[in-house]
Amino acid sequence: MFLFLQPPLTRSHRTVRRGIVRRYEVDMVIVPATTGQMGVLPGHVATIAEFKPGVLSVHEGSETTKYFVSSGFVFIHANSFADIITVKAVPLDRINANLVQKRLVDFTQKLS
């Protein structure tokens, strides 16, 4: 996932799987960094952060789109551009909760 954030934040999402490049201007992004949820706004200090699997939410005005992302990195540049690169990003509405629970049980069994 590769996001550009520009004042107001612009983002481009890129995933390894689909290479969706979406550049859009957003107000805020909440990133599941390893240190916890990190909110990124325009004018954020330049940062490189690694993130753990979690929920990424994109706030555009009053709309919020949420994605589940596997691990990756976010680079926040000084000019309010942010690049988010992950291996996988799935919009939350495409995730079936029951299926996930079932798979979780299966895999935990396989691991132990």
């Binding site: 590769f2 481009s12 890129r14 390894v16 799987r17 689909r18 290479g19 969706i20 490049v21 960094a33 390893t34 240190t35 990190m38 200090v45 330049a46 940062t47 490189i48 952060a49 690694e50 990756g72 990195f73 680079f75 540049h77 000084a78 690049d83 690169i85 291996v87």
Partner: protein, 325 residues
């Protein structure tokens, strides 16, 4: 005696004259009729050899045409994937830069090539560039090692650089290329090979007819630090705060590994596209050559056939006139 004269004539020129004028019209082929293949005493004009050649050339043309179609369809399938994966390494390059000129002690050249042949010269160009890099970077204190992906580069590099090869990986495309596979590969390479800089040599796919050999450089975190301190392109790296519980070094390490796997993924896809494109154009020129050859052979065939008919006629007529006279 007319026959004897003709026979003598026949011996002087290449096509031999058949001694059985009655079967003339059937033009039975028995012995080779090409210039250098006529054994003494055999006198037939035979179109068999030419016909055999025409048949085989026609088959070759069909096969190469089919291969071109197959390559075209495979190209379509992976081209979208390759173009999508281009976005992956761009943010890394924007942040860390791609410094082919970085002067390091331990270079590792990752050469990406195909497993199958008949794809034109792309593998040779990759190997040439890898060897060039090796030469450029060899000297006191500097060393270059190879990691080879694909049979074709292996065949070429094993011959003279066997001691410099660290890892050989083949049969990459047995399953359709995906990121998991490439990340496992990248992991293997990073684990087993010590490096200061990784140079990935592959053919970048610009269009169906143009594939440009490219080198992508991934630097190890220590070298990144060194370059950042010395200023230049990476000078801004220090201005980035590194978020995270771990030290900056660890985060940079993870970053370098992630960068390597992303760049590898893109490189492998681009090389696969270039391979299919090169195969398409190689097979296309091959079928065109086969077509030309077929035309030339058809002309020879017709000439030979007409010559044999003419000589048969001559024999008949001279035989008939000899009978009368």
């Amino acid at each position: 005696m007319a026959m004897a004269a003709l026979r003598r004539e026949g011996r002087r020129f290449a096509p031999m004259i058949s001694p059985r004028p009655i079967t003339a019209l059937r033009s039975s082929p028995l012995a080779p009729s090409l210039e250098d293949e006529c054994p003494i005493g055999v006198r037939y004009i035979s179109t068999q050899v030419v016909r055999n050649r025409m048949k085989s050339v026609k088959n070759i043309q069909k096969i190469t045409k089919a291969m071109k179609m197959v390559a075209a369809s495979k190209l379509r399938a992976i081209q979208t994937k390759a173009e999508n994966s281009r976005g992956l390494w761009q943010p890394f390059t924007a942040l860390l830069g791609d410094l082919p000129s970085a002067n390091v002690k331990k270079n590792v050249v990752v050469t990406i090539s195909s497993d199958k042949g008949l794809c034109g010269g792309i593998n040779s160009t990759s190997v040439k560039i890898s060897k060039g890099f090796h030469k450029l970077n060899s000297g006191p204190e500097k060393e270059t090692k190879y990691v080879i992906l694909g049979e074709k580069a292996k065949a070429q590099l094993v011959r003279d650089s066997k001691k410099d090869i660290e890892l050989i990986i083949t049969e990459l495309q047995k399953n359709p290329l995906n990121y998991t596979q490439v990340s496992v590969l990248a992991d293997e390479i990073l684990k087993n090979v010590e490096y200061d800089a990784l140079r990935i040599v592959f053919n970048k796919f610009h269009s169906v007819v143009s594939f440009v050999p490219t080198v992508s450089t991934v630097l190890s975190p220590e070298i990144v630090e060194r370059e950042a301190e010395s200023g230049g392109k990476l000078g801004d790296l220090d201005s980035y705060e590194v978020e995270g519980g771990e030290t900056k070094g660890e985060i940079l390490q993870n970053l370098a590994e992630f960068q390597f796997s992303c760049v590898m993924f893109n490189a492998v896809l681009e090389n696969a596209c270039s391979e299919q494109g090169a195969r398409m154009s190689a097979m296309d020129s091959s079928s065109r050559n086969a077509g030309d050859m077929l035309d030339r052979l058809t002309l020879t065939y017709n000439r030979t056939r007409q010559a044999s008919i003419t000589t048969e006629l001559i024999e008949i007529i001279s035989g008939a006139s000899a009978l009368e006279g």
